[in-house]
Amino acid sequence: MSASELPLQPAADVRPGRAWRPFALTAPALILLISVIGYPLFTIVVRSLSEPEWGVQNYVWFFGAPINLTVLQRTFTISAWVTIVCVICAYPYAYLMTAVGPRVRLVLVLCVLIPFWVSGVVRTLSWVILLQDSGVINSLLRSAGFDRIRLIRTQTGVVIGMAQVLLPFMILPLYSVMKGIDLRLMRAAQSLGARPSRAFFTVYLPLSLPGVYAGAIIVFILALGFYITPALLGGPRSTMLSTLVQTQVLSLLQWGRGGAMGVVLLVTTFVLLALAAPVMRSRYREAGRR
């Protein structure tokens, strides 16, 4: 029960004369937020519509040039692959986390959190070392008698690196949902004659879906905006939208075009978030009710 429901609730800050107090406390953070994020994003929107002249020509250009559409489509494809890889790897892992004793669980949790703590740039550096032509994976392949495979500067390399960086974002929400699933339901299903696999698919899997949705949306959105990993692991054939934005702005000084791309990326992200929010909320409620 929260304190606000109790009669002893302090009346001080609800008094009409003091209602501004909480707003005054949030004001400094809000002012900084508006000046360091709100205003810059507004500038980008304005620039996308005004440079070199007022109008929507930058957006017409973006959606008219096949290369941009290819990159846009590729950004979605790569993000989708990363999400799929994460779901496949995270599901059994999160499940095992709920099924083992506290000691093994601590080890499993640490394995998830260690990459979380380690600097993102360092992790990407590790992937450069691992995936390059003279890298660990190719050295192992060669000593096993196989031909070397090209991993760095390919889409596969980008997906492998990004999925590893984003995997914790999938495992953690999945685990928190799975932890709440009452395992007696599975036992009940089995006592009613369901084989373990049937009990899993008809009882456990549907109950764990909210976690899958939550994790998948987070991973997909983060993957869409990824910059460092694709920039270091990718090549010309695996360019993602972020890299294109950077090229337009820093190399070509095309603020209007880069801005338009940025706005497309931003709008896509927020539309996805808005679409995901009600789905996730209702799924959570369903899971809670059962």
Binding site: L25, L32, I37, S134
Partner: protein, 265 residues
């Protein structure tokens, strides 16, 4: 629940592979940092400390490291103060506006890094903040703020506000009640916010890449340009140092937390 032995073995194996996939790549930098040759080829040849030596003596590396420390320390304090104030404000607001403002303040987490970076870069060009400490501090603070907000809000949620009322009924003023009752109880949340803010700033790269200049670089920017420019194993040495520093910090933190919890019980 009953799991068949075969399923159990397969599950265990899959998870072992995932765990290796999660952890092993971060450890690759360790052997690479003792490479005798100037290359990032695997396996490394010979043994030498030269890359560690280079990190501490080469001004490119040591100055970027100091810059990162400077920026991250200021950011940690600034973001923690602003974030804690905001968390308190939101906690004492009506649910409607509080939810709206909270969502607004969490946007830095979901805005794609590059979009934010070009926006901040555009404004910094106009205000001459590119390549300045102030510029880095402002940008990193706003990126660190959501983490502080989440950490402090979480401890405020379990904080029983009747304790403040009790303190007030015993004659404590608002500030005294805050200092002697509220602050000690939510301190773990504030401290973890501080740590998160420091780590966020120390690790931030995308925005930093845009607002940097040759005179002021942070460590991640230096690492990034070193990876793209040459195969200098100094990056592996830096990576190893960072790996050990974070492990020590986190390990120490967990030990402290564990001891505190035991002490309380």
């Amino acid at each position: 629940m009953e799991i068949k032995p075969l399923t159990r073995v397969i599950l265990g194996l899959v998870c072992l592979l995932v765990a290796i996939w999660l952890v092993a790549p971060t450890l690759v930098v360790v052997p690479m940092s003792f490479n005798e040759n100037k290359s990032l080829a695997f396996p490394p040849q010979g043994f030498s400390w030269q890359w560690y030596q280079n990190f501490f003596t080469n001004p490119d590396w040591s100055s970027s490291f100091l810059n990162s420390l400077k920026v991250a320390s200021v950011v940690a304090v600034l973001a923690t103060v602003l974030g804690t104030l905001a968390a308190f404000g939101l906690d004492r607001m009506k649910a409607g506006p509080a939810n709206l403002l909270r969502m607004l303040m969490l946007t830095p987490m979901v805005v794609p890094g590059v979009v934010l970076a070009i926006g901040i870069y555009a404004v910094y060009l106009d205000t001459h903040l590119v390549g300045t400490l102030l510029g880095f501090v402002l940008a990193h603070t706003i990126l660190a703020l959501p983490f502080v907000l989440i950490a402090v809000s979480a401890s405020l949620e379990v904080f029983d506000r009747r304790l403040e009322t009790a303190a007030a009924s015993l004659g404590a003023g608002a500030l005294t009640a805050f200092r002697t009752v509220t602050l000690p109880l939510i301190l773990p949340g504030i401290l973890s916010g501080l740590l998160f803010a420091f780590a966020t700033s120390f690790d931030e790269i995308v925005v930093s890449l845009f607002i940097t200049n040759p005179y002021l670089k942070t460590l991640p920017v230096q690492i990034f340009s070193s990876i793209t420019r040459d195969a200098d194993p100094t990056v592996a040495a830096v990576g190893t140092i960072l790996l050990f520093a974070t492990t020590l910090l986190i390990g120490g933190g967990m030990l402290l937390l564990g001891r505190e919890r035991k002490g309380r019980l």
